[in-house]
C-alpha cells in the first residue's frame, strides 16, 4: 500500500446514488463499487497527503469513527492499488 497514494489519472469517479459510487477505468473497463466513506477517501487522494493525513480527514467527516480507522483506510488504499486505481508517489 503506497504511503503517499497518487490517483491513476485515467480513473473516473461516478457518484451514482446517494449511498453508492463507482470507480471506473476506461482503459480496462474495470469498475469498482465504493461506499460514501470510500468516496471521501478517494477525494482526499491528491498525491501530497499521506495515509495518516487521509485517515485523519476521513475521521473528521464522520461522527462514529472506529479506532481502526488508519488500518481500515490502509486496507482500502491497498485494494485501490491492487486494482490499479492508485499508485505510489515517487518523490518531489
Amino acid at each position: 500500500m503506497p504511503d503517499i497514494p497518487v490517483r491513476n489519472p485515467i480513473a473516473v469517479l461516478r457518484e451514482e446514488f446517494d449511498d453508492w459510487a463507482v470507480l471506473f477505468n476506461p482503459d480496462t473497463a474495470d469498475a469498482f463499487g465504493i461506499n460514501p466513506t470510500g468516496v471521501v477517501i478517494w477525494k482526499e487522494i491528491d498525491g501530497r497527503r499521506t495515509l495518516t493525513d487521509i485517515a485523519s480527514a476521513a475521521a473528521d467527516r464522520f461522527s462514529e469513527v472506529p479506532d481502526t480507522i488508519t488500518e481500515d483506510v490502509a486496507a482500502f488504499l491497498g485494494k485501490l492499488a491492487e486494482k490499479g486505481f492508485i499508485g505510489q508517489g515517487v518523490g518531489p
Binding site: 485515467i10 473516473v12 469517479l13 461516478r14 457518484e15 451514482e16 446514488f17 463507482v22 471506473f24 476506461p26 482503459d27 473497463a29 469498475a31
Partner: protein, 365 residues
C-alpha cells in the same frame, strides 16, 4: 413506487449521423415525423462529449444512420477517448475499412462493434436490406476481427428469414466464430410502419422463431442474447406460465409498467442534436445538446420524469389486463412498442402481450 435513478446517465446513445448507405425496409431510424434528418458538425459532438466526460458517463453508443459513413468518425472517437469514456458502434458493416478497424483497435476503448446480419446468405439477408448488403456485412465483420476489434452481430427476425435462423446462427457462431450474437425482431417502428405487411412475422412464424431460437440457445449456451423479440418473449413467457401454474407470488417487477429500466441509467441523442429518452422514442423531445445542460435535463426534464413514472402504473388499471391471469408476472414491456401501436407510452405493449398471443392461437413454447 419509483425507480432509483442514477445521478447522471451511465450510457448515452448517440445517432451520430442521419445518413446511411442502406434503406432497410424495417429500419427503426428513418421515417419518423419528428427528427430533422441532418448531421451535426463534429465540433458540436466534440463539445457534447466534453460535457459527458464531466458528468462521468462511462460509455457512448454510436449509432445512426450508419456511423461508418462519417469520414470524421475517428475524430469523434478521439473526443470520446479523451473524455475517459468507452464506446460501442452499431453498424451494417459494409463501410468498415482496414484503416478504421485498425484505428478502433488501437484506441483500446471499443467495447464492441455490432454488425447486423439477418441471414446465412444474400437471399435472406438482402431481401429487406438490399442487394450486396450481406457481402458487406460479412466483409465488415471479417475486417474487424482481423484487427482484433471485439465484434458481435445482431439478427433481426422477420418474415423472410425465420426458416434460415439455424443456418444464420451457425454461420455467425461457428463458421465466423463470433463469441456471441443478439437477436430481436422487426417491429412496427420507423420504416416498418409502412412495410409491416411484407416484413413482420405472421403469428405462426413467431411461434416457429421462438421455438427455434430457444433450441438454438440451448445448443449454444450463453452465446445468444435477447432483450426483445422471439427469444426474449419465449424465455419470459415460459417463466410466466410456470409461475401462473404454480400460483407463485407476483414477480418483484410484475403487475406494473416496469418493462423499461432505461430511463434510470441511459439517455439518447438524435442526429439533429435533440435529447430523447430512447432512440425508439424520437418524438419525446427533452432538450437540445449544447443548449441545455444534460445533467439538468437528466434530473429535471418532465419528459424523463413522465417515462420514469410509468413504474407506478398498475397493469390492472387497463381493461384488457384487469382479468388476465398473468398480470402479476407481467411488466407491460417496451414503451416504444406501445407508442408505435397505440400512440401512448403509458400503456402495456400489445406486441409483447402473452394473453393476446395465446388468444391468437399461439402457445407457450
Amino acid at each position: 413506487m419509483s425507480i432509483q435513478v442514477m445521478r447522471t446517465p451511465r450510457e448515452v446513445e448517440v445517432q451520430i449521423t442521419a445518413s446511411c448507405n442502406l434503406r432497410c425496409r424495417y429500419c427503426s431510424f428513418f421515417d419518423h415525423p419528428d427528427p430533422e434528418y441532418r448531421d451535426l458538425p463534429k465540433e458540436e459532438w466534440l463539445r457534447f462529449f466534453d460535457e459527458l466526460g464531466g458528468l462521468g458517463v462511462m460509455k457512448v453508443i454510436l449509432t445512426g444512420g450508419e456511423p461508418f459513413i462519417r469520414d470524421d468518425l475517428p475524430l469523434l472517437i478521439d473526443g470520446i477517448v479523451r473524455n475517459r469514456m468507452r464506446f460501442s458502434i452499431l453498424s451494417n458493416g459494409a463501410l468498415i475499412r482496414d484503416e478504421t478497424a485498425g484505428y478502433l483497435a488501437a484506441t483500446g476503448r471499443c467495447d464492441v462493434v455490432q454488425v447486423s446480419v439477418d441471414g446465412s446468405g444474400p437471399p435472406t439477408h438482402d431481401v429487406f436490406r438490399g442487394a450486396g448488403s450481406f457481402e458487406g456485412a460479412v466483409r465488415g465483420l471479417r475486417t474487424l476481427m482481423r484487427h482484433g476489434v471485439p465484434v458481435t452481430a445482431r439478427v433481426t427476425v422477420h418474415r423472410g428469414n425465420v426458416g434460415d435462423l439455424p443456418a444464420t446462427v451457425r454461420l455467425l457462431l461457428k463458421d465466423l466464430g463470433l463469441p456471441s450474437i443478439g437477436v430481436n425482431a422487426a417491429g412496427t417502428l420507423g420504416s416498418c410502419q409502412r412495410n409491416g405487411d411484407q416484413v413482420l412475422m405472421t403469428p405462426s412464424q413467431r411461434q416457429e422463431a421462438m421455438e427455434t431460437l430457444l433450441r438454438l440457445a440451448d445448443s449454444y449456451p450463453g452465446r445468444i442474447q435477447a432483450s426483445a423479440g422471439p427469444l426474449a418473449d419465449g424465455k419470459i413467457w415460459r417463466h410466466m406460465e410456470e409461475a401462473r401454474r404454480g400460483g407463485d407470488a407476483p414477480f418483484p417487477n410484475g403487475g406494473r409498467l416496469t418493462g423499461c429500466g432505461c430511463p434510470s441509467s441511459k439517455i439518447a441523442v438524435r442526429s439533429d442534436g435533440v435529447v430523447v429518452p430512447c432512440t425508439q422514442l424520437p418524438h419525446l423531445e427533452a432538450g437540445r445538446i449544447n443548449r441545455d445542460s444534460l445533467g439538468g435535463l437528466w434530473s429535471e426534464s418532465p419528459v424523463l420524469e413522465g417515462l420514469r413514472a410509468r413504474v407506478s402504473v398498475p397493469l390492472r388499471d387497463f381493461p384488457y389486463c384487469e382479468s388476465c391471469s398473468y398480470v402479476d408476472y407481467c411488466t407491460g414491456n417496451c414503451p416504444a412498442m406501445a407508442f408505435a401501436e397505440l400512440g401512448r407510452v403509458d400503456h402495456p405493449s400489445p406486441d409483447a402481450c402473452l394473453r393476446r398471443f395465446l388468444a391468437g392461437g399461439g402457445a407457450v413454447p
